[in-house]
Symmetry: C2
């Protein structure tokens, strides 16, 4: 007996998304094509069109699932967890093709006529939650507005990873993040909390 039909469909969809991410990561949006993605996923035209009708639809699906592609766990809490997450995402950008493709499409979305900040707003919400946790733990300066700083951090992080990508293929991203935090923490965290935070020391350059 074969797999149930639904289970097979879910697997096919996942295979297509993964192949699409690989192709978008390698070729960008304009260099990608449905036929390249079909070949990579090893699916038939029928299988493809059951799930996705267009390259743009595929790009939107890869873009929309940005947070699902990242699995991050840590023992830390509050601001330390936010710091750890920022370094965790740097590692994901290096090693996780689905996440990397999704970020690339978010940055280059102008190339396929999209202007959609959902992926950015999801990170604002994620960071905001951790900042509220930090507030509850007494780690934030009174003048910090949690939502405002969450927005600032998403912008600053996005540009830092883009600059690192064109400079070094993201090999220097952890170093750049250490620098970014050095200049943000005095405006965000209480001196007592700052004395406790761990930024990675001797940051390893990741393989480019």
């Amino acid at each position: 007996m074969g797999e149930p039909k639904q289970e097979r469909a879910v697997k096919t969809r996942e295979a297509i998304l993964h192949a699409a991410a690989q192709i978008f990561d390698e070729c960008g949006y304009s260099g990608a094509s449905i036929s390249k993605i079909m070949a990579r996923a090893n699916v038939t035209q029928g299988g493809m069109y059951f799930h996705f009708k267009s390259k743009k639809g595929l790009a939107q699906a890869v873009l929309a699932h940005q947070q699902d592609f990242v699995h991050f766990s840590t023992e830390s809490a509050g601001l330390q967890k936010l710091i750890d997450l920022s370094f965790g995402l740097a590692y994901e950008l290096q090693s996780n093709v689905l996440f990397r493709a999704s970020v690339r499409l978010a940055v280059e979305q102008g190339e396929f006529g999209l202007r959609d900040d959902t992926a950015y707003q999801e990170w604002v919400n994620e960071f905001y939650g951790l900042l509220c946790e930090a507030r509850g733990r007494g780690e934030l300066l009174p003048e910090v507005d949690e939502r405002e700083f969450a927005n600032v951090l998403v912008g600053a992080y996005s540009g830092t990873q883009i600059f690192s990508n064109v400079s070094s293929g993201r090999a220097d991203l952890p170093e750049r993040l250490v620098s970014m935090w050095r200049y943000f923490l005095p405006g965000v965290a209480t001196p007592q909390a700052r004395a406790r935070f761990r930024l990675p020391t001797n940051v390893q350059r990741l393989a480019a």
Copy 2:
């Protein structure tokens, strides 16, 4: 008597660059074509090929002249000048198609197979110069490394304008810059200097 040949060539080159910037700004790299740019610049094929042989060459020329496209003057100095420049660039991104196209190409350069951080490094150097001036004026905290913070600021600025672009077509960029500076200044400027700086208050939302 007509214009000297050389003068005409310079004018043609400028007309082509301007038309290319308009088309890249409107259509992105993959949507642009040499023929669209020729039509917009009102030049012949001969005129085009005398100056530029390919769409990629044109994109690289628009990308390479990013700083030439911006004319910024201010009475201020040191850190206040850096702050003023950051808001001046926001205005340029709104109103100056050559600069806006150049920035777009820098961000989306993956789409034409480039990985060139020259435009970013030029801003690092520009910001670094102003930070050295600020150091000479006693405005910086002792722990600030001028080159490190120049790098941090270029990354943070780039991402802030990208996020603002997808969120609001850059209408909210000045507000986002006020927020960014609110969280950077405590880690960068002495309390005495901070008391003097002017961030725009009642920031106007620019027309989207």
